[in-house]
């Protein structure tokens, strides 16, 4: 059967159908619509005001490539300047190749590029070193748990280095939907409730972050890159098969095949969630070591690095957290333990992972939450 005509220009043959509206568009009209929607997301959410110096988290991958390209097109209209910031996690055979892609993009787009490395920021801890350190424990290594926390810290550092006022990342609707599913599956009510907002306003000293591609489905990001002939790096991180996110991703793909609008519908559902009063987390304080926002004495990044440096990598994940803060072990009922009053331990009260559950037990991924971490991390 022949393809329908584009419902926008009525001239060219349609190349795709938009998942939510079912509207048939040609490649050119689709790209224009895509850009207009990103512009609308930014303007309606007041995400990037005129004069903003925007650090773009650039990995060389499809999402950050499309993000940087679209923002570069929109920059004059928005009155913003862009800096690419790439994070080198120290993953041999993967990240070095991706960084080459970012470097050539920076040259092609004539945008400044700053690369920040875990090795420099975190006392030599590359992801490969973390993976070795967490190997052999007989259960999942949780490398990705570390990487998510450390990468956003690294991005923050890189953004400061270039004097940025805002950080943008290329998370798309699928990433957001996967995170919603992950948070449901892990009983992480705090992240569920706060992760739906457009961006974090930058509490404490954290820079404001946002995700202009948040309402663009992954399929449309890839199609945009195809029609605009954008080149990007498309290999999977060597550690990705271990990440919990893979389960959410598989489920989401199957759901999408049955109901194409499921991805965006999930994101919009999460935006409309309200937490029951008992589940709301307390306002966070500051990390005693680095001053960043933290729900406990140490922020998540410092806690994870502490664990690594003590040769006890799982220290800040699940059960080990308590030892780090020199608190006596829980007797039984967490709410009666005065040592847990820094931020209520919620392992039995509620399943809110927004404050660290020291007795996470089978919820090995439960970790405390930095306000700026409240978006997809792994």
């Amino acid at each position: 059967m022949p393809a329908p005509t584009c419902s926008s220009c009525h001239a060219a043959r349609a190349a795709l159908r938009r998942p939510r509206s079912g509207q048939a568009l040609c490649g050119s009209c689709f790209c224009a619509t895509f850009e207009a929607e990103v512009l609308h997301t930014v303007l309606a959410g007041h995400l990037l005001p005129p004069g903003a110096v925007v650090a773009v988290g650039a990995s060389g991958g499809k999402d950050s490539t499309v993000l940087a390209h679209v923002l570069r097109e929109l920059a004059p209209r928005l009155g913003i300047t862009l800096h690419l910031v790439a994070v080198d996690e120290g993953i041999g055979g993967y990240r070095d190749a991706a960084l080459e892609a970012v470097s050539s993009q920076a040259a092609r787009w004539e945008l400044p590029l700053t690369i920040v490395a875990y090795a420099d920021l975190f006392g030599g801890w590359t992801m490969d070193a973390v993976a070795r350190s967490t190997a052999g424990s007989g259960r999942s290594r949780s490398c990705c748990t570390f990487c998510g926390v450390l990468r956003r810290r690294a991005l923050e550092e890189g953004a400061r280095l270039v004097g940025a006022s805002h950080i943008v990342t290329g998370h798309n609707a699928d990433d957001m939907a996967e995170t919603v599913l992950m948070n449901f599956l892990r009983g992480d009510a705090g992240r569920l409730a706060r992760g739906g907002v457009l961006g974090s306003a930058g509490e404490g000293c954290a820079l404001p972050r946002c995700r202009p591609l948040q309402f663009a489905s992954q399929k449309e990001v890839v199609l945009y890159a195809h029609f605009r002939r954008l080149r990007y790096f498309s290999e999977e991180c060597v550690y990705a098969p271990e990440a919990f996110r893979g389960h959410a991703r598989d489920l989401l793909k199957r759901l999408e095949a049955a109901r194409p609008s499921a991805v965006l519908d999930l994101v919009h559902s999460a935006e409309r969630l309200a937490l029951a009063p008992a589940a709301r987390p307390p306002p966070p304080g500051t990390c005693s070591r680095c001053g960043a926002l933290a729900s406990h004495t140490l922020c998540q990044a410092c806690a994870l690095l502490d664990g690594l440096n003590r040769g006890l990598p799982r220290l800040a994940i699940g059960k080990g957290r308590r030892v780090l803060e020199d608190k006596p072990p829980l007797s039984g009922n967490p709410s009666s333990d005065p040592a847990a009053s820094q931020g209520p331990c919620t392992c039995e009260q509620s399943r809110d992972g927004a404050t660290l559950c020291g007795d996470g037990g089978d919820r090995a991924e439960a970790t405390c939450v930095l306000q700026s971490d409240l978006s997809p991390t792994e």
Binding site: R13, R17, K62, V222
Partner: protein, 101 residues
């Protein structure tokens, strides 16, 4: 009875890794009883082009969810998906979306 067909099969977004890294393949499909459609093209690809891990490309009789199929630069959804009947000189592009960005 379908005559032999020449089509171009392309792989992108990482899918090419399953095909020895080769992105563009000029393919001649032999004449056969019934028409050539995407369904039996996939069977042909699995048998003749796919080098490793078929489960990463094919699921059941279709492509794995997350792999986009463009026929002459149009989403296969608009053209009947597996039932689309191939024509001579068609270009079929498989793009994987299944990796971080």
């Amino acid at each position: 009875m379908a005559a032999p067909l020449c089509v171009e099969v392309q792989f992108g977004g990482g899918a090419e890794l399953l095909f020895d890294g080769v992105k563009k393949h000029q393919v001649t499909l032999p004449g056969q009883e019934g028409p050539w459609d995407i369904r039996n093209l996939l069977v042909w690809i699995k048998k003749n082009l796919l080098k490793e891990r078929p489960e990463l490309f094919i699921q059941g009789e279709s492509v794995r969810p997350g792999i986009l199929v463009l026929i002459n630069d149009a989403d296969w959804e608009l053209l009947g998906e597996l039932d689309y009947q191939l024509q001579d000189q068609d270009s079929i592009l498989f793009i994987s979306t299944l990796h971080g960005g």
